[in-house]
């Protein structure tokens, strides 16, 4: 009999320890979901910004906060949604202001309000809400943003979305070179003004991405080398133009950066053209590279 009791106790310990071993125990505060709710309530979700990764938002740009609420088990009454940020504590505690210029965020909508009403939500009914915010705060500041859902029915508890962590960052530099090589094909030794194959198709484009700072483009190259015949062609034999497909408008490339174009605005495109003056050199394939650099307006390359 005593052994049976010991056996039972051991089995109970076994059962109680299992969740620890399997990692099921979590001390995070759970939010109701349609699956776990046994009482009427508000199942909520915040889709953007991410609630799992830090989101970087460019200073003075706008972004959407999207959240949804679903009424589960029973009717939920009139539900309101409030967008908040952490003004004075680690968690969102203050309504995002709707006054233009407020920091670190303001609602950038024509009829702006931090509170939005979902009206009466019946069982299984979903309400989507969104706000367009302007990231007006200081660069390199980090904030928590969340949405609070409340019902006018006192038996329905409030519910918060998970928080989104947002960092306000300076403008970026992003650019697309729409080509990864320049092809001159076969050229004769001692021949000049050999156009690159893509010139006539206006093929060699460089575009500044959206969200970019005002940017300067610079260009440089390396000498073309043929190790088999131990010969090289100076990069100054290649010329480029950022305006027209005419050799006369072109400039020599060098091994140090020269201006390609200054002061580009985002989405601005530069079409470039290339020519090579082939010096008298042994026949063969010559290899080199051309590098295009983007820097914030006024910075040295």
């Amino acid at each position: 009999m005593r052994n049976r009791i010991i056996f039972s106790v051991l089995i109970l310990i076994l059962i109680s320890l299992y969740p620890m071993a399997s990692g099921d125990i979590s001390d995070t505060q759970s939010t109701p979901s349609t699956a776990s709710l046994e009482l009427p309530g508000l199942a909520i979700n915040q889709s953007t910004p991410s609630t799992t990764s830090l989101t970087n938002v460019i200073e003075n740009s706008t972004f959407y906060v999207n959240a949804s609420v679903t009424c589960v088990i029973a009717d939920c009454g009139t539900v309101t949604a409030k967008i908040q940020y952490n003004a004075s504590s680690p968690v969102p505690d203050t309504l995002v202001p709707n006054v233009i210029g407020s920091e670190p965020f303001f609602i950038n909508e024509s009829l702006s309000s931090a509170t939005k009403i979902c009206l009466f939500l019946t069982q299984d009914e979903t309400c989507d809400v969104s706000w367009l915010l302007n990231a007006s705060g200081d660069i390199n500041t980090v904030w928590e943003i969340g949405v609070l859902f409340e019902s006018n029915n006192p038996s329905i508890p409030d519910n918060y979305t998970d928080n989104s962590t947002v960092e306000i960052v300076p403008c970026v530099v992003g650019m697309t070179t729409h080509y990864d090589d320049i092809v001159f094909g076969n050229t004769q030794p001692n021949s000049n003004e050999n156009a690159a194959e893509g010139n006539s198709d206006h093929y060699y484009n460089v575009t500044l991405d959206t969200g970019s700072c005002i940017t300067d483009f610079y260009i440089k190259g390396s000498d073309l080398v043929n190790t088999t015949v131990d010969s090289s062609i100076s990069i100054s034999n290649i010329t480029f133009s950022n305006t027209t497909n005419e050799y006369a408008s072109s400039f020599e490339l060098s091994e140090t950066y020269t201006v390609l174009k200054l002061g580009l605005q985002d989405l601005e495109n530069v079409t470039t053209y290339y020519w090579i003056n082939t010096p008298p050199r042994p026949a063969g394939s010559y290899y080199g590279n051309i590098t295009i650099e983007g820097v914030s307006y006024g910075e040295a390359p």
Partner: protein, 208 residues
């Protein structure tokens, strides 16, 4: 049949004379905070985000261009890596327009010598993107200038965590490894206890 053959020949000829589609390189970068204030002998850390908006992946390599004498700079990850739209961790989200872009996080650690005099120092690094195999390869380069403000009187609380940063790169590697081991070893220990209890229970049950 003759017309079809002619058409096929025209298509093949047109296809043959068209230049091969070149690969685009889209390269976006952000240096989050370009100036850090620290005390002499401690380590400043900087964060750079890199991303691409297009499907083509390409290699990226960071290199150190300029650093004050006796200073040490570590860039993590070291060497080159492939950048694509779903980069390896660590990552953050870069919001561009209304598009959430997954950006790779590059950490740069700058260790100052303990005898460094007060003042602003510049560390220059650059990222080179794209390494084709054609005769004349086109690449993108992006320079970054990191400013380290050495101040012996700097408030430790207002620096980037000078004490911890002293060993930041190594600390990350070591603690990362240990942190990965702790949950596993804890779980393993619990499993061992469970198995022992199970065996004991079975022995007791059998001997009743």
């Amino acid at each position: 049949m003759g017309k079809l053959l002619k058409l096929a020949i025209i298509v093949i000829v047109v296809w043959a004379i068209l230049p091969a589609a070149a690969q685009s390189i889209n390269f976006g970068t952000l240096l989050k905070d370009n100036q850090v204030k620290i005390t002499p002998g401690s380590t400043a850390d900087f964060t750079i985000l890199v991303w691409t908006l297009i499907e083509e992946e390409y290699p990226v390599m960071f290199t150190i261009k300029e650093v004050p004498k006796d200073w040490k700079v570590i860039i993590n990850p070291t060497g080159d890596f492939v950048l694509n739209q779903d980069p390896e961790e660590p990552t953050e989200i870069m919001l561009l327009g209304n598009e959430n872009v997954k950006a790779k996080v590059i950490k740069v650690y700058v260790k100052t010598p303990s005898g460094a005099a007060d003042g602003e120092y510049k560390v220059k690094i650059s990222a080179l993107a794209g390494f084709g195999e054609s005769n004349i390869v086109v690449r993108q380069e992006r320079p970054f200038t990191l400013t380290v403000d050495v101040d012996a009187k700097a408030d430790a609380d207002k620096t980037t965590g000078a004490d911890m940063n002293d060993a930041a790169p190594f600390y990350d590697e070591i603690t990362g490894a240990v942190a990965n081991m702790i949950p596993n070893s804890s779980g393993l220990l619990t499993y061992v206890i469970l198995i022992v209890i199970l065996i004991l229970a079975w022995i007791i049950y059998k001997h009743e």
